[in-house]
């Protein structure tokens, strides 16, 4: 359904738009009319629109996303090479941001309405309000130029990586991953902290919390054992909801740090007007987000004892 809608929208819009998918080639005055006609015929652009759409839809149904003009390879291949890097970045940030976000929320709720609480709220609002690419630029500035402790970009060192030992290669990768992952983690954890603080404050007035308090448990025990456990269910739904933000965040961060993932490929393709690659990236990205939220739904049903067995 999603794939269908994205496909229809992009197809319609691209054909409404002035010029054609590779006007960069065809607008060049040095390219003769015959070459243009051959190119059009080669890519099927000379056929009537409905036929073009059916061919396009048929290819999509077979899982083919088309030909990337700028990489001169099938879009599938380009995205398949890039996808693991994006998944790695998103995965690290997902784990990191939930750990950090929940920790911050716990500290805040343990000292609610104190200075610490308000200060942390302010900080998470600051990160929450930040455009992804701006924080990425700032971290890049801070940790590669002003305080040069991390490499500037890419996933591995282009010169020495091949000559490193096995352990050295892992270290090299980790060094390159650190800043993009840190940026995405910081951005995502702001959302988690804000959400989780509210969720914890929501369960605190419950009866079982009062019972726990009456049993003489310390505030810390109550928070950790009773409140957090019950506030974990909303976290699972938040995981599902956070995929769009993680993915779009990854797109920008990959561009800033030249991290060779899907976002970097798609964003570079914007510059070269490589439509099939952009559209392919949009379709795959949407599918990833949909799968992510489906997974979160399943996890939720499994984790909630009230829903288990239904």
């Amino acid at each position: 359904m999603i794939v269908a809608i994205v496909a229809v929208i992009t197809f319609v819009l691209i054909h409404l738009a002035p010029g054609d998918p590779f006007s960069a080639v065809t607008d060049n005055p040095n390219v003769s009319e015959t070459v243009r006609a051959t190119l059009r015929a080669q890519y099927g652009l000379d056929r009537p629109l409905p036929e073009q759409f059916l061919r396009y839809a048929g290819a999509l149904a077979r899982g083919e996303l088309g030909w990337s003009f700028s990489y001169e390879r099938p879009v599938n291949e380009v995205l398949a090479t890039a996808l693991p890097n994006t998944l790695l970045l998103m995965g690290v940030a997902l784990v990191g941001s939930f750990a950090l976000g929940i920790l911050i929320a716990l500290i805040q709720v343990a000292r609610r309405d104190s200075f610490t609480d308000h200060a942390l709220s302010g900080i998470s609002l600051f990160f929450f309000s930040m455009p992804d690419f701006w924080l990425a630029i700032l971290t890049l500035l801070a940790f590669t130029y002003w305080l040069p402790i991390f490499p500037v970009g890419g996933a591995v060192d282009p010169v020495i990586h091949e000559y490193l030992s096995w352990g050295g290669r892992v270290l090299d990768r980790l060094q390159h991953l650190a800043l993009p992952a840190l940026t995405l983690t910081l951005l995502a954890s702001a959302t988690v902290a804000r959400f989780q603080r509210a969720a914890l404050l929501d369960v605190l007035p419950s009866d079982y919390i009062r019972t726990a308090r009456l049993k003489g448990l310390t505030e810390r025990q109550i928070l950790r054992r009773h409140a957090l456990r019950n506030a974990l269910l909303p976290i699972i739904s938040l995981i599902g909801l956070s995929f769009p933000a993680l993915l779009t965040g990854a797109f920008f961060i990959e561009k800033v740090f030249a991290w060779p993932g899907m976002g970097f490929a798609v964003v570079s393709a914007i510059g070269t007007r490589d439509y099939p690659l952009v559209v392919g990236g949009v379709i795959i990205g949407s599918i990833m987000v949909a799968l992510g939220s489906l997974l979160a739904d399943l996890l939720y049903a499994w984790a909630d004892p009230r829903l288990r067995g239904h």
Partner: protein, 296 residues
């Protein structure tokens, strides 16, 4: 809600119901954090409105592309100059104007769509509603940025009004679902039945009786929506498919300096700070308004 006034007619007459907007304003002014936010946002809006009076230079002028290019912050150019020798402070000031305007206008577009679509779906009910909601689900499942990428890459060098329309068209799905839920819930409220009995038309019921009850979610969505659009526009401009040159928007200025982040740090730092400040205040206000309505 207006529908539930049974049994307290006397008290109602003594205390006329405050309008939702009045309630929001009073609630905002009570909290110190949102008072600060109102002040900061007010200043930024004023800067945007008065841009031609405040800006020290013409934001598009390239006075001396050799001698004045890429200068770090100084007294003459507090935010430095860009690689085209343009004054970054002036561009940030004009950027406030453009970025805020785009945010507000795009939000107007999405509010219109969201309210109309949601109200129709909720009021029609049945198959129409179900079909409209499935379409909405599909749109909602595509991240907004990806949707915009797919659309904008087809139209290189889009004009600002067209950009506003696209930003607006991709931002109404969430609100429309809220509106539909409210309309569905209120459709059978007694005051609607009463209006029907008095012979009111469908349009009159929607506009006069149901819409006023939707003011609170709309105000909240509008405030947070403007913040969201500002960030999105900046992101698109940063990717080079947003606001076209030589116009200045916050994202655009950062993009101009993005080739040489390290040497031109002032070009990303200052516009970004303004943007974060604006978005923060909008988020604070949006949440304050939501709190006011929820507490009621």
């Amino acid at each position: 809600m207006r529908g539930q006034t049974r049994g307290s007619v006397a008290t109602k007459i003594e205390q006329p119901l405050e309008s939702p907007l009045g309630l929001a304003v009073r609630g905002i002014l009570r909290k110190p954090s949102s008072r600060v936010a109102v002040f900061v946002l007010g200043v930024i809006i004023l800067v945007g409105l008065l841009a031609p009076l405040i800006a020290p230079y013409d934001p598009a002028a390239q006075p001396d592309i050799v001698a004045l290019k890429s200068l770090p912050p100084s007294l003459a150019h507090p935010f430095g100059t860009d690689p085209y020798s343009r004054d970054v402070l002036s561009r940030v000031i004009y950027g406030a104007r453009l970025s805020l305007a785009i945010g507000v206008l795009a939000t107007v577009v999405s509010l219109t769509f969201g309210v109309v679509y949601g109200a129709i779906a909720g009021y029609a009910g049945g198959i129409v509603d179900a079909a409209m909601m499935r379409v909405l689900d599909a749109f909602l499942s595509i991240p907004r940025l990806l949707l915009l990428l797919g659309v904008l890459v087809a139209w290189p060098r889009l004009s600002v009004p067209a950009l506003v329309v696209f930003l607006g068209l991709t931002g109404w799905f969430g609100l429309s679902r809220i509106v539909r839920g409210q309309v569905l819930a209120l459709k059978h409220a007694e005051f609607v039945t009463a209006a029907l009995a008095l012979g009111a038309s469908r349009r009159r019921i929607l506009v006069r009786h149901l819409l006023p009850n939707l003011v609170s979610p709309i105000v909240v969505a509008a405030t947070l929506g403007v913040a969201h659009v500002i960030v999105l526009e900046a992101g698109l401009s940063y990717l080079g498919i947003g606001v076209p040159q030589p116009l200045a928007s916050w994202g655009n200025i950062i993009q101009d300096g993005s080739d040489q982040v390290a040497t031109l740090w002032w070009m990303s730092l200052f516009p970004g700070l303004f943007m974060v400040l604006t978005v923060m205040t909008l988020n604070v206000l949006g949440e304050a308004i939501r709190d006011v309505y929820e507490r009621r």
